[in-house]
């Protein structure tokens, strides 16, 4: 998306027609929990290989967007399309199988890691490939070890999660997601529950992945990181996309007062 994209300042607008097939297209995503309308018609387009940072105050709905794409929440309306191959219309009360088909295109990295405590690092990583994707254990193990080596955790393959630092646990969480070979990586505040000195390690891993062409949707409060890594920043507030566009536009010269307020508050901390 070009920085001069007029859409960047238009909260209701659709994205400009992309050059090729978008990897992810979300239109009109809406969700309410009882009286609380957490998503009010969210539109989102992610091109293959793009890194999209979702920012906004807590309760703005950013996490719910991710969770909806991963089948952890089922929106009330809207569509989600992955690469034109999986298409779910939430208003048409999709079956579990349809939602699972959508889920299988992405993998989630959780704020609180959610590693399986009763399994070793290696077992955590190969659980999905072996149990769900039915890949051979030898094959999945070789892949898993290569991924663990890349995040510097080769020597921890037989450790249990409780034996790892938070930063190490989150790197295992990332490797567990990568091992599924998803088209789309979803990060839900991946560094929010880490001690400050451990944040860097995890961000470095994500930065490296960005360089390798993974398509990622990242909910984050790390604005500096978003500015450096993201191709697109989406600012959400009150269940809506307030503005989106190139990080320079949204983070440096935002068009909307609400965005300015939010950024000011974060910078004042």
């Amino acid at each position: 998306m070009s920085p001069t994209d007029p859409i960047a300042a238009d909260p209701s607008g659709a994205d400009p027609s992309p050059a090729g097939q978008a990897l992810l297209t979300v239109r009109g995503l809406s969700k309410r929990f009882g009286d609380n309308e957490v998503l009010k018609s969210i539109d989102l387009t992610v091109q293959p290989g793009q890194i999209v940072a979702l920012i906004g105050p807590s309760g703005s709905g950013k996490t719910t967007v991710l969770r909806s794409l991963n089948g952890l929440e089922v929106p009330d309306a809207g569509i989600a399309d992955v690469a034109g191959e999986v298409h779910v219309d939430f208003a048409a009360s999709p079956s579990r199988a349809e939602i699972n088909a959508l889920r299988d295109r992405s993998a989630m990295v959780f704020q609180h890691f959610n590693l399986f405590p009763h399994k070793t690092v290696l077992e955590n990583v190969i659980e999905g490939p072996v149990q769900v994707q039915k890949r051979s254990k030898v094959d999945a193990t070789a892949d898993a070890l290569a991924l663990l080596a890349r995040v510097g955790l080769s020597d921890k393959r037989d450790a249990y999660p409780f034996e790892l630092s938070g930063g190490q646990q989150q790197r295992v969480g990332i490797v567990r997601a990568l091992a599924l070979k998803p088209q789309l990586l979803l990060f839900d505040e991946p560094t929010s529950s880490l001690d400050p000195e451990l944040v860097g390690d995890v961000l470095d891993v994500i930065r490296e992945l960005a360089g390798e062409g993974w398509t990622m949707l990242i909910v984050t409060h790390e604005l500096q990181f978003a500015k450096q890594v993201a191709d697109q920043v989406v600012f959400m507030d009150g269940g809506r996309v307030v503005e989106h566009g190139h990080p320079r536009d949204v983070l440096v010269s935002p068009q909307h007062e609400r965005t300015r307020q939010f950024l000011r508050r974060l910078l004042d901390r």
Binding site: L72, A107, M108, F110, E127, Q131, V132, P161
Partner: protein
């Protein structure tokens, strides 16, 4: 001439141990195994969002826990024949004990399942697992660790409760003790001997529990 107590105790040791090995222990083991299956089913039903399903489980647990085991045993062995269902002593005992364990262990298992953080269900889901597979591979192994101490208590209680089966003519440790006691008129000696054997069995079980807990604790920070 009456034989000395020591000789009587020694001579009755074999029949009592035989009663334990052929009666008490297999009765407890089989009832516990079947009871756990019932309990898991009841725990899952109890957790169901369907109110009828969870209501059935709730009622079952309430009845089992709210009525004496001896009464449950008598209903099955002495009660059912009056509606034309005659059940032999052994099956009667296994049915009664299994149903009983099912009621008590259901609450233990339910609580253990609920003690596993919701994020674990989500993590299972995100790597593509169905609810059933997540339950089996992710949730139950973690719930097992939590439920070992309370389930061990249930099992130890069950071992002692199998003595009630003597009242429906099942040949087990206590029934053998009663028979020898009645014959020799040495009630005190025989019943204490029986008590000691129960105690030894339970001591052994406690140590099994200890090592099981240790094994399952290997992935928890201390």
């Amino acid at each position: 001439m009456q034989e000395p107590i020591a000789d009587l105790l020694l001579r009755s040791l074999l029949p009592l141990i035989e009663g334990a090995i052929l009666g008490t222990i297999p009765l407890a083991l089989s009832s516990f195994a079947i009871g756990l299956v019932i309990a898991l089913g009841m725990a899952l039903m109890r957790l169901s969002k369907n109110r009828l399903v969870s209501g059935i489980a709730r009622a079952y647990i309430s009845v089992i826990r709210g009525t004496p085991l001896l009464v449950q045993l008598f209903v099955i062995f002495y009660g059912l024949p009056s509606i034309g269902l005659v059940v032999d002593p052994w099956p009667s005992a296994i049915i009664a004990f299994s149903l009983n364990v099912g009621g008590y262990a259901a609450e233990v298992i339910r609580a253990a399942i609920l003690s596993v953080p919701k994020g674990q269900w989500e993590a299972g889901h995100t790597i593509g697992m169905s609810r059933g597979r997540t339950l089996v591979r992710i949730i139950l192994p973690q719930a097992a660790r939590v439920s070992v101490p309370p389930l061990s208590n249930t099992f130890i209680s069950l071992v002692k409760d199998t003595s009630l089966a003597s009242l429906i003519l099942v040949t087990e440790l206590f029934r053998n003790a009663q028979e020898i006691a009645a014959f020799s008129q040495e009630f005190m000696a025989l019943y204490i001997e029986a008590a000691v054997i129960y105690w030894v069995i339970c001591l052994a079980l406690s140590s099994v529990q200890g090592s099981l807990e240790k094994r399952l604790d290997r992935y928890v920070a201390h």
